[in-house]
Symmetry: C2
Amino acid sequence: MKDILQNHPNVLPFLPMLYVGWADQAMIPSEVDLIHKRMNEIEWLTKDERDLIVKWSDPATPPSPELLAEWVALIREASEKMDAQSRQSLADLSLQMAERGVNGASVWDTPEARTAITDIETALGYVNLKDHRNILSDAQRQKVIELDAESSFDVEAMAKLLDGEYVDIKNKMRQIFADPAFQLRIIKNKEEYREQTLQWTKLMAAQGLGAISYPEANGGKDDIALYASVFEMMGYHDISLCIKFGVQFGLFGGSILGLGTQKHYDKYLTRVGTMDLPGCFAMTETGHGSNVRQLETTATYDREQDMFIIHTPNEQAGKEYIGNALHGRMATVFAQLHTNGEEHGVHAFLVQLRNENDELMPGVRIEDCGYKVGLNGVDNGRIWFDNVRIPRENLLNRFGDVDGQGNYDSSIGSISRRFFTMLGTLVGGRVCVPMAGLSASKKGLAIAVKHALKRRQFGPENEQETLLLDYPSHQRRLMPLLANAYALDATHKFLLKRFANSAEEDIREVETLAAALKSYSTWNTTHTLQMCREACGGKGYLAENQYADLKADTDIFTTFEGDNTVLMQLVAKGLLTELKEEFENTNFWGLFKTFSQQFVDSVSPFNDSGNTDEAHLLDTCFHIEIFKKRERTMVMGLGQDIRRLIKMGMAGYDAFIRNQNTMIALGHAFAERIIIEQFAQFVEDCEDLELQNILKKLCDLYALHTIEKHKGWYLENGYMKGDKTQAISRMVDKLCGEIRSDASDLVDAFNIPPHLLMAPIAL
Amino acid sequence: MKDILQNHPNVLPFLPMLYVGWADQAMIPSEVDLIHKRMNEIEWLTKDERDLIVKWSDPATPPSPELLAEWVALIREASEKMDAQSRQSLADLSLQMAERGVNGASVWDTPEARTAITDIETALGYVNLKDHRNILSDAQRQKVIELDAESSFDVEAMAKLLDGEYVDIKNKMRQIFADPAFQLRIIKNKEEYREQTLQWTKLMAAQGLGAISYPEANGGKDDIALYASVFEMMGYHDISLCIKFGVQFGLFGGSILGLGTQKHYDKYLTRVGTMDLPGCFAMTETGHGSNVRQLETTATYDREQDMFIIHTPNEQAGKEYIGNALHGRMATVFAQLHTNGEEHGVHAFLVQLRNENDELMPGVRIEDCGYKVGLNGVDNGRIWFDNVRIPRENLLNRFGDVDGQGNYDSSIGSISRRFFTMLGTLVGGRVCVPMAGLSASKKGLAIAVKHALKRRQFGPENEQETLLLDYPSHQRRLMPLLANAYALDATHKFLLKRFANSAEEDIREVETLAAALKSYSTWNTTHTLQMCREACGGKGYLAENQYADLKADTDIFTTFEGDNTVLMQLVAKGLLTELKEEFENTNFWGLFKTFSQQFVDSVSPFNDSGNTDEAHLLDTCFHIEIFKKRERTMVMGLGQDIRRLIKMGMAGYDAFIRNQNTMIALGHAFAERIIIEQFAQFVEDCEDLELQNILKKLCDLYALHTIEKHKGWYLENGYMKGDKTQAISRMVDKLCGEIRSDASDLVDAFNIPPHLLMAPIAL
């Protein structure tokens, strides 16, 4: 080999990249192409030298391990001669290897030569020298580690980008939570904890935060987006406070605002916003949690006394899990309205629960739900009504009213449509809950990442132990979750804007979006926090390190404000309805089958099912296209199958139920498509190139990791070949390694108030 | 169509099965074959009738939806004429459709005809008429539901099978836990909870249970399997008790038994077993959790006083997370042994922590770890030693001893081998912990299944709401987990036997098995309990329904007794060592590459990568083979790659780390292969055919659901085609539906003491 190289000295600078290329499992065609193309631009290479490089980069004739070991020896020899102070990139190493004359000069000592080599290596993405410690000298290794510590972007700029347009209210929340009155502490006794939560809620109200989404006349700023931002920030504080706050101002107050009319605003809303009138949102019943349309509590109009009689007909019809039930003086109670012997479906009524002395009103029975998995600072209870009489004006009458004769009047004819319209006014909860969940995930990630950058365990013989975050398995655990957090941040911003600015006709679309993202995002929260706890080992199990509460408190997010599994089916039904309309509007339904076949055919060539080029794998258009394809294929298959089953005589309900698992999968596919689109848009809109660069990596990781998760589906359906899914997995590994260098800054950019991030392992 | 059928009346009885066949997405080839084959055995079919059946079952020309709808009308017409009392199988329906003469007789009224039809339908597996409610009359539907309620097996016999050879001790534990002294209650305050746990531990000791694995001379029965069974049963009770019990008798007592010698047994072991001497197992340090070989506490021999000086050299070297630290009087302390200026590696020493009045000994500092995610009844603490002197005989000297001159002597020369030998004596924890975790999973499953068989939500218009467990999505959530529980039960039985009867030379194998199964099984516990909590919705979030403690207490199982991620890498290393030996022993290492290629080639034809026949999919040999193939392919690929990297000059440590994710995946593949083998063996060994029948279904579900989980890998590697993985998914759906009918009995067979299964939603 020495002979060969003596005769072909200009090959030497290529050895580092060839070595790294082969060490990365195999030379893939795009790498080979790239090397050959750029090699031709270096004019001082002889033909023999070119041939040698071509031979040594040919996947058909891989260099023997012995040859590679010789390369390593040569590379290490060069590396040891290098100055530890100079920038120790792979390119430096390459140029260091160049043959030098007696005066130390070399044909490679030109800016052009450096550019040529650097270009190749940058294009190949061979930057992570840490993985190739054996080719580096000790000093170089140290330098690599230090280089890692350098920020690739401005953390403050990223924090500002994440705070977005609500930076002021978020900063205000940071200030408020810095107050000693809001200091977090572990309280195990539920009565004591509830008292603390109640006091915190009152303090929040005193800051004008409770009323923030109400009209100005009621002490508010008429801004639901501000409310959502407050809610998001509470996810960093105590989540019991977050939920109690949400029950009081979002659900109780929100039901008055959304379902009531001016008379109710005048009489109650201001007092709700100041916490002067604590109240409940009493919808769920023991017997009816998800299927609330069938709830059994009745509200019967009594014409003689001009009152409604609120009644719980049986034990199972008791209101269940009602937040604020132990502190509330009033409740919005959902009940089946009966007037003059007629049924009008579910309506909402304001019912007084307790008097000014906090004594229960006659006919009202309340029980404590007791301890829960988490959220033990929230006073959940069960409520039963025994013929409780309330004034007629306590009907929240925006969508339906009853006059003194018991005549019912509504602008919406169908009971079913009326019910869903009422529910629609409450979509805010589904927009906000996952935002608080995302904050909890970010906090969990910040703790786990910071721990993994301090904690060392095991390592090479006679060297310092390795940082947890330098283990590929640890990167694989945490980096995709970090990408998810950024992806969801961008998507929740989009949803909030869409929701806050929605017109009447957008409601269905916003509901579908909120249902899908609430489910996807809260499941992601549960998963993220579990992974983070495990990644912190025993330390993660100590309550002081926060996961105890983070996990326990957010665990119910997948259930409340609509059970995720039920919501995902709603999403699928919404998509099927859209599909149907799409075809009906164009009179195309009959051509459905033909068209869907065309669809599959038309996208196949674009898809590049075997393309493993790095540029292609990192192409955002490819990501969006392949996510869309999955969603579209699923919705079409589902539509066809349900149609087929119904046509052959199956009842609609049964046809849906038979496809239930596919519907849930479709809900996920829809959520993922929305997320990749919105995250990609967020990246594109970012004007700071440094930020854009790292955000693009996170977006790539979100996309490829999600594709990897579904690789079975893509392979099964012929959209990808095995080579491609394997290349995607390798790319995920690589992105995890790259993002690892910025991990600390990426969690710092969440800008979590330090007094709320008080886990000892994160300090 | 009326015309056609009038001319071919004998086709009528085939309509129900044809309809059901088409409703199940598509007629798959094996179904078509089966229908044609059996059809030919029915001699009174005319050629035209045969042709018609062939045509109507041809996947190339599926019947139109309109035709299928006509079939439904005819079937329903027949079904409505049927007596609701008679056994309403699909076969009955078929025969009811047969054309009848004026006297009501038909050629189909023979036992042979019934057999022919029944055979086809049984073979096709069309038993779940619930999915085809539209072809049934109301009375029939009711009957189908009742049929579901019938047991397919004897629950008591299954319970006996699961109790296995340790039925006596398990029944004893059931009795003990029925005692009011062991009544479970929610205790939030840690001091109060720890006191309760301490009392329970003493009560257990008083029953002779603590010493059960110790020699008879020390009050025991010298039976580690009995100990494991007690531990398993404690998983149904309070898991804080389980862990405190394990610390005292398993870890502290176990370290004396495993690492000490007769003098230690005589002096301490009896008192440990009676809880007269409460103690700790002080191995982990803050700075060294997984990498305990590098722990920093020192034990220096002081020749003058003939004592060891136990010392914590820095704050991070404090013993961390030590169970029983607040109650313990003594601790087995792991420290680096120094004698006469020489290092001998980690050894264990008995160090007194407190005197008889529970006052700390001089030089000992102990801090409470505070609240944790769960297990708050266990008193974990941190311990530091400031030059604490202990007598020389307090060295647990089974594997290494020091004489009065400070001379060190050990039968094991290498420090490293000595360390691993010492660790090996502690493998019992890894055998027992997942057994308690499995009990917790079973409890969680029992609650979720029973809830899902009571709880109804949503349903077809104007009908009773649907039971949760009748939803395919709910079956998909819970049934595979039920199969996992049975699969792991069989496998833990195997591991326990293997461990209890292991000879010296088996230790490495048992260690690999224990590491793999501990990891796989405890991850399964975390996952199972999370899924169960979610499947119970808000009810699952109430502490009274048990998931709060089940989830929180078992969450640490994935970390302690060896972090799962670290253990899986140990497993992979073990498998690589085996592989290396395999080749070295046969001088085959050089032919490695050739051989592994041959391996891949040789199994490919066997694999039937496109075979979707039901018989094949349910063939246990196929399952075992394909699990093995995955494991073997991975270990070979891994071996090759690490070898390649090392050969080309990479350090061994780096070569392993680069393959870390594959190593962890291999650990899983190994665990899964062991589980399918052991569960299949358990099924084969079962002599009761009824039990065997349902166990086989659970085994099939375990196998196919696991394959489905890895379908991306199988497709990527060319072991399966898309058609096959899709057929496997359909089969998983089907098995979930079938096992659903037995779900209640399957959880009853766990025989969990009713007073421990006290969740209100499960009653």
